[in-house]
C-alpha cells in the first residue's frame, strides 16, 4: 500500500491473506487513514478464529484553530468572523457560546459570525482551538479495524498506546496470557516494544 512503510497480512491461507491486504488498503483509503498509519501488521487465524491488528501512527493531525477556516476583523462593536469553510462551524459556535455567552454571538448569514464584545482582539479570537482531530482519529482507526475484521467477531480488545494501537477480535473468549504473548510478538513486527 502506498503511504505505509510496512504493511503485512499474516495468515495460513494465502488466498485470504492476499484479499485481506486489498480490503485493508481499500478501507484505510476510504477513511483517509493511509497517511496517518505508518506501519501495520495484521494476523488472521481462521482456525481459532482470531483477528489481530497492530500498527504505528505516523503523524497526528494538528489542532484546528479558528484562523484555519475563518478570518477575524475588528470593528467598533466587536469582531466579525468571515467563514471560509463550514466544516468546523458547529464546534466553533459552541465554543464561542461557552466563552462569550449566547446573547453576544450572532450569525447574520451562513458565512458571517459576529462577536459583540467591544475591544476584543481579533488575533486572540483567531488563535482559539476548535477541534483536536487526534481525539477522533483513534475512533476512526478502531472503526477501520472493526470494518476490516471479519464480521461477527464481537469479543474485542482494543488498546491505544503512545503512537501505536492494537486490536484483537474473535467470536470466542480468548486466553488473556496467550493474547498478551501474541500481541507482544506482533507489536515487535511493527517496531514497538511493550
Amino acid at each position: 500500500m502506498k503511504g505505509l512503510e510496512y504493511f503485512e497480512v499474516e495468515c495460513i491461507e494465502p488466498v485470504g491473506a492476499e484479499i485481506y491486504k486489498k480490503i485493508a488498503d481499500d478501507i484505510l483509503l476510504d477513511l483517509n487513514l493511509s497517511q496517518s498509519i505508518g506501519r501495520l501488521h495484521i494476523y488472521i487465524d481462521p482456525e481459532t478464529p482470531l483477528f489481530l491488528a497492530v500498527g504505528v501512527i505516523k503523524q497526528m493531525p494538528g489542532l484546528v484553530h479558528i484562523r484555519d477556516f475563518a478570518s477575524a476583523l475588528g470593528t467598533g462593536e466587536g469582531v466579525v468572523l468571515d467563514i471560509g469553510t463550514e466544516t468546523y462551524l458547529s464546534p466553533m459556535l459552541s465554543i464561542l457560546w461557552d466563552t462569550y455567552g449566547r446573547d453576544l454571538i450572532t450569525q447574520p448569514d451562513r458565512f458571517t459570525v459576529k462577536i459583540m464584545v467591544p475591544g476584543l482582539n481579533p488575533r486572540e479570537v483567531e488563535e482559539m482551538v476548535v477541534v483536536d482531530p487526534s481525539e477522533g482519529m483513534f475512533h476512526d482507526i478502531i472503526y477501520a479495524m472493526q470494518w476490516i475484521a471479519p464480521e461477527g467477531f464481537k469479543v474485542r480488545r482494543e488498546i491505544i498506546g503512545k503512537g501505536h494501537f492494537s486490536y484483537v477480535a474473535s467470536e470466542n473468549t480468548l486466553d488473556e496470557e496467550d493474547i498478551d504473548k501474541l500481541l507482544k510478538e506482533k507489536l515487535a513486527c511493527v517496531g514497538v516494544s511493550v
Binding site: 491461507e13 482456525e47 470494518w147 471479519p150 461477527g152
Partner: protein, 314 residues
C-alpha cells in the same frame, strides 16, 4: 408446442408500445417492464422462431434484443448480513449482475449469518429462501470458515444452492459435503466495487453461467412432469382479470418463477378471488394451483401443480 426463449428488449420510450403489441400478438409474455427515464426494458418470453422478427421491427426504433437466460426466475442472493462488511460491494454487485441477465433477485441478509461458529439460519429465513428458484450463497475469503459454517447455513434449504466464495472453485468443491448444485470461486468479501474485467467481472459472468446451468437442470426436471400451465401465461391471465400491474405501485407486482408465481397482494383478501378466476373452458386457477400465503410480507405464493396431479393442461 412452442418453445419460448427468454429475452430482454432495451429501447427508447418512443413507440415502444409497438414492441409490446408485437410480443402479445406473437403469443409471447412480458414478465417485467421497467421504464427508466427515457429507456424501456422489457423482460419477456417469446417464441423462438420470432426473435428475428422482433429484432427487425425494433431496429428502426433503435431497440436491441438480447437473449437473457434468467428471465422468469426469482433468485435469492443470501449474504451473511446486511452490514457494511458485505454491502454495498459484492452482494449488490452480484445481485445487480444477475438482474442484468434477466433474473428477479431478492437480497437476503441473514440476522445471524455472520461469524464462523455462531453462524445460523432462522426458520423464517429458511422458508423465504425456499420460496425462490435457487439461492446464491455469498460467503467469504477463508476456506476454513466456509467449510465450518456452510452446514449451518444450508440446513433445511431444498432449492438449488450456488455457493460463491474467494477460494477457487476446486477448493469450494473439495470442502463442501454433501455437494451443492453450483460453485463459483473468486467472489469473496471485498471492499471496493467490481470493475476490473479480469478477476472480477469474469467471475460474475461465470456465476451467471453457473446459475443458468443449475436452473436449466431444474427446468428439465420440471419438463419431465410438465406444469398444468406455463407460469408466464398464468401471470397474463391473472393480470388480465385483476389489473394488478396497472393498479399496484410495486416495481414487479407479479413475479414469475419456474414453477410458481409470487403475487404482491394481501393473502387474506385476495386468495379466494384469485382461485375463482377462470383460465379457459371452465378451468379455474384454484383447480390447477395451490394458493399459499408467502413468508414474504403478506404476499401470495401460487404454486402450479404438475399435469400428473391435475390431469389438466391449459
Amino acid at each position: 408446442m412452442t418453445v419460448f426463449v427468454p429475452i430482454t428488449y432495451k429501447g427508447g420510450v418512443y413507440r415502444h408500445d409497438i414492441i409490446i403489441d408485437l410480443i402479445d400478438d406473437l403469443g409471447g409474455y412480458i414478465v417485467q417492464k421497467h421504464m427508466i427515464a427515457q429507456e424501456v426494458v422489457l423482460q419477456s418470453l417469446v417464441p423462438k422462431d420470432d426473435i428475428e422478427l422482433i429484432r427487425k421491427i425494433s431496429r428502426p426504433l433503435a431497440g436491441v434484443v438480447i437473449e437473457a437466460p434468467l428471465v422468469g426466475t426469482e433468485i435469492a442472493v443470501v449474504s451473511p448480513s446486511l452490514e457494511i462488511h458485505h454491502l454495498p460491494h459484492t452482494s449488490c454487485d452480484v445481485a445487480e449482475y444477475l438482474r442484468s441477465a434477466g433474473a428477479k433477485t431478492n437480497m437476503i441478509g441473514l440476522a445471524r449469518g455472520f461469524g464462523k461458529r455462531i453462524a445460523n439460519l432462522s426458520i423464517e429465513e429458511r422458508d423465504i429462501i425456499n420460496e425462490h428458484d435457487c439461492a446464491v450463497f455469498m460467503l467469504g475469503n477463508f476456506e476454513t470458515c466456509i467449510e465450518y459454517k456452510m452446514p449451518a447455513l444450508r440446513r433445511g434449504i431444498n432449492v438449488p444452492i450456488i455457493l460463491t466464495g474467494r477460494p477457487s472453485t476446486e477448493a469450494l468443491q473439495r470442502i463442501i459435503d454433501p455437494p451443492v448444485d453450483g460453485y463459483v470461486g473468486g467472489i469473496g468479501r471485498i471492499a471496493h466495487r467490481m470493475r476490473q474485467q479480469e478477476g472480477e467481472i469474469d467471475h460474475l459472468d461465470t456465476l451467471v453461467e453457473e446459475v443458468s446451468a443449475v436452473l436449466s437442470r431444474k427446468r428439465e426436471e420440471v419438463a419431465k412432469d410438465p406444469l398444468s400451465i406455463n407460469p408466464a401465461r398464468l401471470m397474463a391471465v391473472l393480470d388480465d382479470a385483476m389489473d394488478i400491474t396497472k393498479r399496484s405501485t410495486h416495481p414487479t407486482p407479479v413475479v414469475v418463477q419456474i414453477r410458481a408465481l409470487r403475487v404482491k397482494l394481501p393473502y387474506d383478501t385476495y386468495a379466494d378471488p384469485i382461485a375463482a378466476i377462470e383460465i379457459e373452458n371452465g378451468v379455474k386457477i384454484g383447480d390447477i394451483t395451490q394458493i399459499l400465503p408467502s413468508r414474504m410480507r403478506d404476499y401470495i405464493l401460487i404454486r402450479i401443480r404438475p399435469f400428473s396431479e391435475t390431469k389438466i393442461m391449459v
